[in-house]
Assembly symmetry: C2
Homo-oligomer: 542 residues x 2
Amino acid sequence: YICISSTFIKCDMVTNSARLEYQFHVFLLNCSMLLRTFYFLLQSLNTETNGCDLLPALDGDAKTMNFLQEVVDIMLAYIVESFDRSTKVIDFHYPNELLQRNNWELSDEPETLDDILISCRATLKYAIKTAHPRYFNQLSTGLDMVGLAADWLTSTANTNMFTYEVAPVFVLLEYVTLKKMREIIGWQEGRGDGIFSPGGAISNMYAMLLARYKMFPEVKEKGMSSAPRLVAFTSEHSHFSIKKGAAALGIGTESVICIKADERGKMIPSDLERRIIEAKQKGYVPFFVSATAGTTVYGAFDPLMAIADICKKHDIWMHVDGAWGGSLLMSRKHRWKLNGVERANSMTWNPHKMMAVPLQCSALLVREEGLMQSCNQMQACYLFQQDKQYDLSYDTGDKALQCGRHVDIFKLWLMWRAKGTIGFEAQIDKCLELSEYLYNKIKDREGYEMVFDGKPQHTNVCFWYLPPGVRYLEDKVEKMKRLHKVAPVIKARMMEYGTTMVSYQPQGDKVNFFRMVISNPAATFEDIDFLIEEIERLGQDL
Amino acid sequence: YICISSTFIKCDMVTNSARLEYQFHVFLLNCSMLLRTFYFLLQSLNTETNGCDLLPALDGDAKTMNFLQEVVDIMLAYIVESFDRSTKVIDFHYPNELLQRNNWELSDEPETLDDILISCRATLKYAIKTAHPRYFNQLSTGLDMVGLAADWLTSTANTNMFTYEVAPVFVLLEYVTLKKMREIIGWQEGRGDGIFSPGGAISNMYAMLLARYKMFPEVKEKGMSSAPRLVAFTSEHSHFSIKKGAAALGIGTESVICIKADERGKMIPSDLERRIIEAKQKGYVPFFVSATAGTTVYGAFDPLMAIADICKKHDIWMHVDGAWGGSLLMSRKHRWKLNGVERANSMTWNPHKMMAVPLQCSALLVREEGLMQSCNQMQACYLFQQDKQYDLSYDTGDKALQCGRHVDIFKLWLMWRAKGTIGFEAQIDKCLELSEYLYNKIKDREGYEMVFDGKPQHTNVCFWYLPPGVRYLEDKVEKMKRLHKVAPVIKARMMEYGTTMVSYQPQGDKVNFFRMVISNPAATFEDIDFLIEEIERLGQDL
């Protein structure tokens, strides 16, 4: 509680007129917290309590409220700390070390609630602060306060998406939100279908499943042996989930034909058409093209309009994997990068990435109505009774691959209400501005080399940092060998110091390079400056 | 705040010795709440605030804490209310009506935080109280306070399960917990593999995918055309996800052979063997048997030992779908019902059902080590870099079908710590005791007829209620026709009154019957009595 109180005192004042009022606020809050501290102190003098004392235990109300409030206080302190640049992004320990730093074992006997609180603190102590303004490691970063509140509320409601009966509000909100997203894609009156799935990989798998069903519905009953050899197409820079999906669906990874990308990572339409024709000549049946809007590493947007033309000509399902780049549709400034998406048959769009909605929140949008239902339904009579009193079209569970389905909609919906579309737009535009700043800063800076030329289209900035010891090497082979080891070492040092985190990888014949991405609304120009300084500080001796 | 305060006053006293102390607690808490109320009142006199004022906004700390605390207060009030039998399980409205009762639309402009709080209240007002002691509608009911706290903390940590790098603690806890679960299954030293997946249907799909990969690994690359016709076997009472999985994986629903169940809903092993031999004679390849431990409707346990014998003899992957019944392994009294599970190759076990862990929490356990990895891996180099500083065996993401994966482990782990294995056992035993009580109460009661004879093996009690107007009908056809309509009408009335909720369905040639299940630790004998009285009250005029 001292830590929380100090936080309030820390944020010193704003305008003169508000100062007095603010001080009174702080006073009141501190009083309230002091009383609470006193109360909990008093409680701890009691005999030890455990989980059995909480609700639904008789007279468990007070104990429950106290326990939950203590957990909330732990979380509130963690949240404030997460946004504080002076704290570490990570308190890193190697797996074996971390295993020994705490007792993580499960046993027969219960622990006290005090022990449980200790576990909560330990868990957060060693967690990554994904909200930290200098955490750039993944496509999903940041922590939105309204989104978080919504996720807490979702947990409290603890229900399942399968029917209107058990999730009336959430089913309606899913309906409202999917329609809005389809309108933004550009489908007439927002018509179509969709679902929130447990992530982009599953959303892409849904799309592939639908494409197959659309062309060969008999596969549902008779399996792949009832269809000719199906082939799918995606760029060599696309996400691995396309192949993963093909492996699972019995199509096989070899039937996913990788189309060449240009030096910026965009699919080359002429190569797509060539490979489609080639496949047809072999007697294969092209059924699915997955274009990527925002590739994972380069952040490239495939030319959707040209791809749509080819799909139309050859009558192939066009899917757009916009898991990462789909959110740019919310920006009037950047949405042109997805021109042509309105011609797609389906689209993956993960609000948990560029819109910073808490994990997980991934949508699959489908242009054709009714297809998901007929593709996936099994009509389990214990769940989707046909003689209910309400409009059964709201029992959307049977169009899912899953049976139970987590409620992922509320956090997106509530954030949308809190920000408005323009709020998301501002947030996205700002991240893109930051990445442009980074690009401009390093493109001519000594010791840096860009992986591809030109201004990035998404927030991905891919670059090598060449430490002085590598920079002037003349033996090219030796230079590449040494450079390949630079990023992993710098990254490991970042984690050990806990100052920042950014991803790296090789790609094709290119040795390890940094892939900077910005999706955290907490990041600022100063954080970009810091990153560059930190890379140089940690890499100078290499 | 008034509502919360009154809750504290309500739970009147326990023992004389504690009374004074307790009253002092209440006094302190009320003081603290009064101050807080005053503080918020003062705040609301300020100009309107919106999401932009929260963290990471400069000086957003205090506003963030207040906002989150307000949401917490709304949730705490909801939680206390949920366990209160005098409140409704549901405040039911038809979809169109609910759409009009609130503004659920998404717009361009942001709303104020006050509006956001109103939306939170509205969402909970119309939500199902799944924690309510009289909510029996699904296999997942109840709300565990430690599990809830853990889920809040998970949202706050907001990370992803793919690598140790971004989820060090959660990856370790998954490791610890899966090992413990495998020990409980009876696999030597807890060896094997596993994953937490987004639900039982996906876990079952994983199992089918692994079984196929084990027998025909080339399907991963070459698709189903590289394998002979594969057939899977499961009982006619099994969960629909087996067929859903077969449809998705390109095996086809017709290749799922439904084995006869006895009158109690258990798979008949002799029929299984007969159908396996028959399939082989047709040149098909049996590759997968899914036995069910706890069927959805009857709660039946297939005879695992006999099925294991058959699978061994014919060299077929044995999967146990214990999504519902798997948790009985935690009970020394009931675990015999799963005898033979230790011989299975894989098992689905959903702690979010009978162990009342908040949704979602489903595990797939696999006996063979390494198989999941080789079956599913795609080795994306931007995520699973091979030159990291730590032990890469903790980067478990590549064995998943998904790429990003929600953290589902912490709530189970924390509950396990709080209860111990014996706590889960007690909770499960109590639910089974309640269902036996219900069975004993209605089996000879006038107006009731059991769907199957004998004491239920799980908490499923399946029965018809015959209202007086149906009970004495002599025309059998007419009687069945009328009886078929009874459960839907009673259920609709339950929802309109909001007093309780229980599921119903037809099965095979059996007309609509009630399927009572008990997984809510809050339920008591009185709630069972209430259910029976309520069915009779609502059905007496039918």
